[in-house]
């Protein structure tokens, strides 16, 4: 794992270096023109966030039921990344919406569901920080519930929203990718997923060192 860090960092760096050029050369979307280019970093942010969700949920289950300390380290690292990548998506979303739809926030299904998921993992981090002793297990339950409830969040917010008349048209770029858009999007997605893995490895290393420090403290207590 440790050995993969450097080459992975190089690859990720390269991908992010060429991304702006590829994105700039992508064709303009019909109705939204320039602002649509936010999409190339906005959507992969969500992809990275959901990667984090899967890692956090599985790691939390492993920690809660198998007591695996390593799993707990992955859980907290993934949770931090969910918050970071989610924040990126939640800022780029309204910036895109302001230009495309004229309002900052429109209770759009995806943005609202993502906001709720983001809040749940901010709560996860708060529990770990302020929950007192044994808060790792509490947080693990929060992560599991967060992951379990997210499909319900999406479904209920979706139906809740579509009952109101639509005030704008959300382009279904992902549904029918024209040749121009798919390339840069896939490149960005790959770059983001690799970045996620990179940051995860970095954060897990920090968690490992912190646990080693705690054990040292315990050893010297005696």
């Amino acid at each position: 794992m440790r050995k993969a860090f450097a080459p992975l960092a190089v690859v990720t760096g390269l991908l992010f270096a060429i991304a702006p050029f590829v994105i700039a050369n992508a064709p303009y979307e019909q109705t939204m023109l320039l602002i649509q280019k936010i999409f190339y970093f906005h959507v992969p942010s969500w992809v990275a966030m959901y990667c984090g969700l899967i890692v956090a949920a599985i790691a939390s289950i492993l920690y809660l039921f198998k007591g695996s300390k390593a799993a707990d380290r992955y859980a907290v690292s993934a949770a931090e990344l969910i918050v970071v990548f989610g924040l990126n998506g939640l800022i780029s979303g309204p910036l895109w919406a302001r230009k495309a739809w004229g309002v900052w926030w429109q209770w759009d299904v995806k943005l609202t569901s993502a906001l709720l998921l983001w809040l749940m993992f901010v709560a996860y981090l708060l529990v770990r920080k302020y929950g007192g002793p044994g808060s790792e297990k509490l947080a693990a339950v929060v992560a599991i519930f967060g992951a379990a409830v997210s499909p319900f969040v999406y479904v209920s917010v979706n139906i809740w929203r579509t009952m109101h008349p639509k005030t704008s048209v959300v382009p279904d770029i992902i549904k029918n990718p024209t040749t121009g858009f798919a390339g840069p999007l896939l490149l960005s997605m790959l770059a983001f997923v690799l970045l996620f893995c990179l940051l995860l490895m970095l954060r897990v290393r920090l968690a490992e060192r912190q646990d080693a420090l705690d054990e040292l403290y315990l050893a010297y207590e005696d």
């Binding site: 809660l64 039921f65 709720l116 809040l119 749940m120 709560a123 708060l126 529990v127 302020y130 929950g131 007192g132 002793p133 044994g134 808060s135 297990k137 509490l138 339950v141 929060v142 599991i144 519930f145 967060g146 379990a148 409830v149 319900f152 969040v153 479904v155 209920s156 917010v157 139906i159 809740w160 009952m163």
Partner: protein
């Protein structure tokens, strides 16, 4: 054994509560106060905005539910009875079910007062489909109480439990609120919108199943040191 334990825990809680009615009375009046505050906030020129009634109902349930959860488990913490319960040779999920049933009884009492109060204040036809409404309240309360009991129990040893409980509970119970409010609103509309209400109820029941299952599954590892 499981059912017996759950009923015993429920009976214990009810017995303690019946003596002083402390939690029942305080959360009831808190819920009523909530309704009044929201009424004053929303009512303009004597008219409430449409769909205010179901919204206020579910918000009052959520807020007073959070308060009730905090108070109930504070009592357990104060007397250290939770540890005693956990030491007992009883299946742990049964303890959870017993506490959950106690919470549901408490919230049901609150709703018994809230529903007529809101019908009275807002002229909302709450009793157009009483059975349907009862199903909604039951399903929604169960979902809320299921998550709430688990989180309140797990926060019992935490110093910041009072503020962490809402932080954890509200994002997770947002779909419960959405389903409850939209479903109740469908029941209150002039020609009662049964298909929509049924759809929301179905989602709510699915959430009940998921929440209760997850809570039963995670209660044991969570409570063990």
């Amino acid at each position: 054994m499981f059912v017996r334990t759950a009923i015993l825990v429920l009976k214990k809680d009810l017995a303690i509560e019946v003596k002083t009615l402390e939690i029942v009375m305080t959360t009831l009046f808190f819920a009523v106060a909530c309704v009044l505050v929201f009424s004053f906030a929303f009512v303009r020129e004597g008219q409430a905005p449409p769909d205010a009634a179901p919204a206020i109902l579910w918000i009052a349930v959520a807020f007073s539910g959070t308060l009730a959860l905090g108070r109930t488990f504070e009592r357990e913490r104060y007397s250290e009875t939770l540890r005693a319960l956990l030491l007992a040779p009883a299946p742990r999920p049964a303890l959870y079910v017993g506490k959950l049933l106690g919470m549901i009884v408490l919230l049901a009492l609150d709703e018994l007062v809230l529903v007529p109060l809101i019908a009275f204040l807002f002229g909302a036809p709450m009793f157009a489909r009483p059975l349907f409404l009862l199903l909604f309240l039951a399903a929604g309360t169960l979902a809320f109480a299921a998550v709430g009991t688990l989180f309140a129990a797990m926060l019992i040893r935490s110093r910041t439990r009072d503020v962490l409980l809402p932080i954890l509970l509200y994002p997770i119970t947002v779909p419960v609120i959405i389903c409850g409010v939209r479903g109740t609103a469908a029941l209150l509309s002039s020609p009662v919108d049964e298909p929509t209400a049924t759809m929301w109820l179905a989602i709510l029941i699915a959430m009940d199943v998921v929440f209760v299952t997850l809570s039963l599954w995670t209660f044991e590892p969570l409570m063990s040191e």
